[in-house]
């Protein structure tokens, strides 16, 4: 399998706080990678490196190399960051649809990136909503406000919104933590299906979720990547004692 994302000895500082300590990881294309670990372990910070979301925070310093498709994404000029973000979609913890119609939510990214052709936008919106397994539920109310959807539907709308611009990577920051079990199940099924088209990285607090949806799992602790391996290996027989303690709930 081709390597999609690679990080070499990545360090991240928030001011004086050393948040990530020399992370090395190679993520193969079209797989799901789960990042697990206790709160504050750096997994979310690590996720946000890949679409340069950390740039938005003052006092962030990033060292090391982060390669996507063999390009160092921190060596590109600032003007290329938007283009990078087009390639790397993101779904957030809380469903956060824009205060627009369902249609316009999905179309937003297309318009942002300069698409004007009405037919093309319509086609793309439908495709994204279908991919997000939401089309059947919303096709008759595309002109309604996105806030009329349930929490689970809103989150799938956000996934559709991210997918509409056809990124090749999808970052998910605890995408199901604010949802009920049924919606969570739907999101997990969706992730499982989406991996044939996307390289997905998901941050989760839920170990069962990590084991169910991912092919690879990385365990973070205090800013260090303790173990990164096939999910099967991690959950059957992890290499490190700390990993074992964490996934069996004997942590602390």
């Amino acid at each position: 399998m081709r390597t999609k994302i690679e990080t070499n000895n990545v360090h991240l500082h928030y001011g004086d706080f050393h948040a990530l300590k020399g992370i090395n990881m190679q993520i193969p294309e079209r797989t799901v990678t789960a990042l697990i670990g206790p709160s504050g372990c750096g997994k979310s910070s690590y996720l946000r490196l890949f679409n340069r979301m950390n740039d938005l925070i003052d006092g962030v310093r990033i060292d090391g190399k982060i390669l996507i498709d063999n390009t160092d994404i921190y060596a590109i000029p600032q003007s290329e960051v938007d283009r990078l973000r087009r390639k790397v979609g993101m779904v957030f913890q809380k469903p956060n649809p824009f205060p627009k119609t369902i249609f316009e939510n999905v179309a937003y990214g297309l318009r942002v990136n300069g698409l004007k052709d009405k037919k093309l936008i319509e086609g793309q919106v439908e495709k994204a909503l279908r991919q997000a397994a939401l089309w059947e539920e919303v096709k008759d109310k595309l002109k309604k406000s996105a806030f009329e959807l349930s929490g689970g539907q809103q989150q799938r709308l956000c996934i559709a919104r991210a997918m509409a611009i056809e990124p090749s990577i999808l970052l998910m920051d605890e995408p199901a933590s604010a949802l009920d079990p049924i919606s969570t199940g739907k999101i997990e099924e969706l992730i499982y299906e989406l991996k044939s088209n996307f390289t997905i990285i998901i941050v989760t607090h839920n170990m069962q979720q990590a084991s169910r949806v991912s092919d690879y799992t990385g365990f973070f602790l205090l800013g260090e990547l303790i173990e990164f391996d096939e999910t099967k290996k991690i959950f059957r027989n992890p290499e490190k004692q700390q990993t074992e303690n964490y996934i069996t709930g004997r942590f602390g």
């Binding site: 997990e188 099924e189 499982y192 084991s211 169910r212 949806v213 999910t231 099967k232 959950f235």
Partner: protein, 225 residues
């Protein structure tokens, strides 16, 4: 199809493939016995290794299934059943291999009369039917079909229980073929164990389908009959 469902299907397919392999081993054992085909008997022994490997991969798949998908309710019953059936099938494979060893060890053909008298061939036929019926029962989730093994198992038990007396007959009747008689008796003991394994599988299938633990109820039922 849901993720968990596709995983179940995959595991099921693997188990059926294992089943087919075991059935093939039994069929070959029967052929080897009938025609005293020592080459075929050796082939069976060689294939035994494949069955062992198969058992290991299915075991691993079941472990992965439990570790990664945390099955509950019917999914959990399914995987536990698969795990146990897997072990039972491997044992049946072992037994087929064991029988084939008696065949390959003998440079002369078995005395048909001894086999007939002790009903070893009939036992083998019955046990193969049992394994085939169970495969069907598992595939079609048909408990009635699974229950057909109990009758055959009783028949096996009956033959097995008189086997020693019949062996004595044969020992007296064919004093120069004592080794053969004893080997046939050993085969019968082995085949009887196929019946036991088959019965276990039937219980697992019924447990999986009806969520009934019939192991404990069996005793009462036997008393009634």
């Amino acid at each position: 199809m849901l993720h968990v469902e596709s995983e179940i299907q995959e595991l099921k397919d693997r188990l059926i493939a294992m089943w087919d392999l075991v059935i093939k081993q039994l069929d070959k054992t029967q052929q080897a016995l009938e025609g005293h085909d020592r080459d075929l008997a050796l082939e069976i022994q060689a294939t035994e290794r494949r069955i062992n490997a198969f058992e290991l991969t299915i075991d691993r798949s079941c472990e992965d299934f439990i570790a990664l998908l945390q099955p509950v309710a019917s999914d959990l019953r399914f995987v536990l059943t698969a795990l146990k059936i897997n072990t039972n099938l491997e044992r049946i494979g072992d037994i087929a291999c064991g029988i084939s060893e008696f065949i390959s060890d003998h440079d002369t053909e078995f005395n048909r009369e001894i086999i007939k008298h002790m009903e070893a061939d009939r036992m083998l036929t019955l046990s193969i039917e049992m394994v085939k019926n169970l495969r069907e029962a598992y595939l079609l989730e048909n408990t009635a079909k699974a229950r057909t093994v109990y009758k055959r198992d009783r028949m096996l038990d009956k033959i097995n229980s008189v086997a020693s007396f019949r062996a004595v007959d044969c020992l007296e009747k064919y004093p120069d073929q004592k080794r053969q008689t004893l080997h046939v008796l050993s085969m019968i003991r082995k085949i009887e164990r196929i019946g036991d394994q088959a019965k276990n599988i039937a219980e697992e299938i019924i447990f999986y389908i009806e969520a009934k633990v019939i192991k404990h109820k069996r005793k009462e039922k036997d008393k009634e009959e």
